[in-house]
Symmetry: D2
Subunit: 330 residues, 4 copies
């Protein structure tokens, strides 16, 4: 069986998913939808697929599933449209920047009994999966404390920051999802400290570039998240989990596995710098998991609820920064 895909949006992330779909032997790319003709043409030529409008795709009999790679403010509308059209839907996070809009969209997904997967790529990274497997195998006993370090090589452009929803909804949201995934228990309190240390313009836009978050669960488990929009040495993505019997950590990925030495000491290359390069395997794995769930009629590995929960944690973090107190979730 082959799952037939259309991709909505031929931008950077759309191209990543086009590659993931076409390199998956259980999937086939049927169509691309994209308002910019050149970009559409490029994808169509490279992968031999049709160019269609979004509405055409919604009514195409030869399309089983769509990947939504359009701007964030269109996600919720498209999820609703394609859920109603009976297509399996994969949507990059976030569903929307507003909790109420997310809830409305998810209500329709539920009413239509549609299949929706929200893309949290970290869960599909091979190293993070190996870390999760070590926990699930009992290698570290009960999970007690998690430390997530997530630093971007540099801040996105001001234009992006303006529409991003801020650091917690744009960047930390991945870490909130990782925390929920690994804690194995819902989060009860959120405390966040945030400041502007790398670029005053970010502050002017009402956002932060540096943040620490402490999460706790009802049973007393704790998780800290450390975020910065600047790390000169590359894209720093680490997870460390302390358990009752041991510890497991996922290490960073360097540009090359070489070691140099000279009078100044030992040197290794910087980390992979770009999230698409760093998470290449994760993007392929998440499409593979989406296809497998469609084929098996199984629940999606990451759902609309996961997207909603992560967004609620981001909102709680923002409130915590305003009040300088921990925020308790329901």
């Amino acid at each position: 069986m082959t799952t037939r895909f259309a991709i909505l949006g031929a931008g950077r992330i759309g191209q990543v998913h086009a590659r993931a779909v076409t390199s998956n032997t259980a999937a086939r790319l049927v169509a691309i939808a994209e308002p910019f003709a050149d970009a559409a043409q490029k994808v169509a030529a490279q992968y031999g697929c049709d160019i269609r409008s979004i509405d055409e795709i919604a009514t195409s009999d030869d399309v089983d599933a769509v990947v939504i790679c359009t701007p964030t403010d269109t996600h919720a509308d498209l999820i609703e449209q394609f859920a109603r059209a009976g297509k399996a839907v994969f949507c990059e996070k976030p569903v929307d920047l507003a909790v109420d809009r997310v809830k409305a969209a998810l209500a329709i997904v539920e009413a239509e009994n549609a299949a929706l997967m929200v893309g949290f790529n970290r869960r599909f990274d091979p190293d993070f999966m190996a870390l999760k497997a070590a926990i699930d195998e009992g290698r570290i006993g009960d999970v007690e404390m998690i430390t997530i370090t997530s630093r971007d090589p540099g801040a996105p452009p001001a234009e992006y920051i303006k529409v991003s929803g801020g650091i917690f909804r744009d960047m930390t949201i991945h870490d909130f999802d990782v925390a929920r995934w690994l804690l194995g228990e819902e989060i009860k309190t959120v405390y966040a400290a945030a400041s502007v240390l790398t670029d005053p313009e970010i502050g002017t836009l009402g956002d932060y570039d540096s943040a620490n978050v402490v999460l706790t669960t009802a049973s007393g488990k704790q998780c800290t998240i450390t975020n910065s929009r600047r790390a000169s040495y590359g894209y720093d993505q680490r997870i460390e989990v302390l358990g009752s019997k041991g510890m497991v950590a996922a290490k960073n990925t360097a540009e090359a596995n070489i070691l140099m030495a000279d009078e100044a000491g030992f040197h290794e290359p910087p980390l992979l710098n770009f999230f698409m390069t760093r998470y290449t395997a994760a993007y392929a794995n998440e499409i593979a998991a989406f296809v497998a769930s469609i084929e098996d009629g199984a629940p999606m590995p990451t759902t609309g609820k996961d997207g909603l929960k992560a967004l609620e944690l981001a909102e709680a973090a923002l409130e915590s920064v305003r009040t300088a107190a921990a925020v308790t979730l329901d």
Copy 2:
């Protein structure tokens, strides 16, 4: 010139300092004071020093400096007695578990214009010193965010916990001092989450075994401290500092620098398990720094004020746990 020492207390930490003093070519151990005759005799025989009472030492002409290694509840009294006696005083942290008592003792030290060094051994660890030197040399630009991971191999006995003042005054106090040392700026807010995860008895005693602390400064610098009373793999002592131009981290110290490999993969020995072994060089270095300050008539590298500040941070952390909000320091 040789600084002539007496050590007050021949217990575990007293013996560590006896070794540090006697292996220092600028110092000489003149006397030990210890109520248990056997313990006193053992030190006297090993290092060829006298056994004297505390009061005798206070009036001994051939003693320039004392190292206070007696139980915590005697520290403040002894500091006052020896400050008045005109001796240079080295006191293991803490000065006292109560802020007011510390302030009273420091007032007398100041009035007597006495030399007081409070022992914060981390500042004298060779690796942490190399980390600090890298910061001071501008290797990472401006300090922005610090992550301190400090985990004991196992909890101390209940008897000790009862009189320890709790995890923040007993264990985190070292990390508070490290944070102040490295941030280069006083701490303004303290948030702490704490729970009991490793042993319910610790909770029964009113204490915690697992804690995360977030510190911020007026300029927006941030520091997180992660503490646990249990780490199966040894005494976990790490510091990581992110700056505007880079990062510097101090790594852990293993029992041996060997690597083994077999069908299950690669293996390295656990960390040094005991704080006295882990910080052997630090104890020697801190006595050397004390001696050097005495000889040069220079200010002590770690002062009574440092002891007071760290204790105030511990109290703020406790209040934060109670209120679930950040506590602002004056």
Copy 3:
């Protein structure tokens, strides 16, 4: 421009190259030749290519290049046939197990002015390429001493060993090529020690499983190669180069980049176990380099001469084992 490929042989290595060709946007797989119908059918179905006989491919107008993935004893004949047919030829090492047969085939390649690339995958591994780049950039000054560690996870089956030409022609041959590539100077003397340590059956077959080789050049540069047919911890592939100003080393590749810790210490997963997994990127890169040379009409990056030189070094090593003396090459 697109280079149109046929692959000769649909076995394990043929499938690797089929994947490399089809994932290369400048190449297209036109046909597969394979005596076993099932194997041929499988490749044809997966990649949508024709099934043709070897002779049909030699006369196909729509084939520019062939990849020879047939048994070793057919390589030289096929190289000659396709050189005469005017196709660009990529042949997995070795060209043949006999030096004279290799020379004869290369003479025909030269006479036909044909393009021949002999596959030495190490040269196309990203980490080894980064190591080579560091040398070429002058990071370590002049190359002086090289240490190559190459250990298989386990010995191949006896059936394979019988026709392999022995450890030097089958396994060390890669390391001989790496040595030539990195020394930047032809090898003058070869000394080899070899023994049977992992499985007596290997000795019964007249082969060895453990070997150390020392190579020297006219200017006094040295290279050691350490080989074993058994490494419980995986496929061990390391290179270390000492130069006048420093050192550069390529590290191994583990199954996952995670670190676990428990009472026994720290643990990391074993190395990738299988050469095709370990060198996945290398196989893709070597086909890309072949395609680029065809497109540019440029010399092949690894030539028939490289194949011949490596084979001559293997023969010299065998002679050295027999004579217990260094063998001098012309």
Copy 4:
């Protein structure tokens, strides 16, 4: 019981042993012998010991053991003198640069039934001891292949090289001893390649600065030794042992355990640069082992025979370089 020591020679290595003896609680330093009055005075003052002549020490009733730290060409004579005087003798390697002279001295040691320990500090390094313990515990199964990497930060002065006996007798001799220690079987063949790569003056003196040695045993075990007189990144001292079930390696020791990161990547400090700093713990451990053997009346851990065997291997290596063939030992 306390072993009473005299040290012969107050140079660099004599001072190292003076520190080792005086910091050992089972030993006492009674006297120093040294022709340069200033040097003798310095040691005497620092450790509170007598200054005596060598002959006085040989007849001193209050001296149980001597440490010979005089120039190499006096070692054999002094060993004989103190063996006859009934003192336990610790002599830094080598006993002599000539095999016959060593044999003659050892004959007298045997005739006098004297206790002689020849100092091979590697065997007492904590990391190498941990590696040896892992082998002895069966962690890697049967030892099969050993790789020893030993590189000096820089060449010694020409004056030293002239009297050193050459690289094999001066530097590789340590590695020969390590090989014997770890192989658990006597060495049967020695092949060595040597050249001058770092400094032509070394060649002018008839010596080499770069060497690779391959050792084999009767059962087919193999060991390679890689030596260079130059390593810009510090004193490179590594051992790796492959066994039937796994591998164990001893890693290098850096100046500090810190990690820095910036735009150029990750950086660690160079290795400890000086053999006395690198092997500080080893020197203390070897004196402790000497004292323990004296106290227990037990055989010395490293004997005159070990010194002789290592020297014979050095001579075989020299012959191998001359003949370009492996040399077989009796």
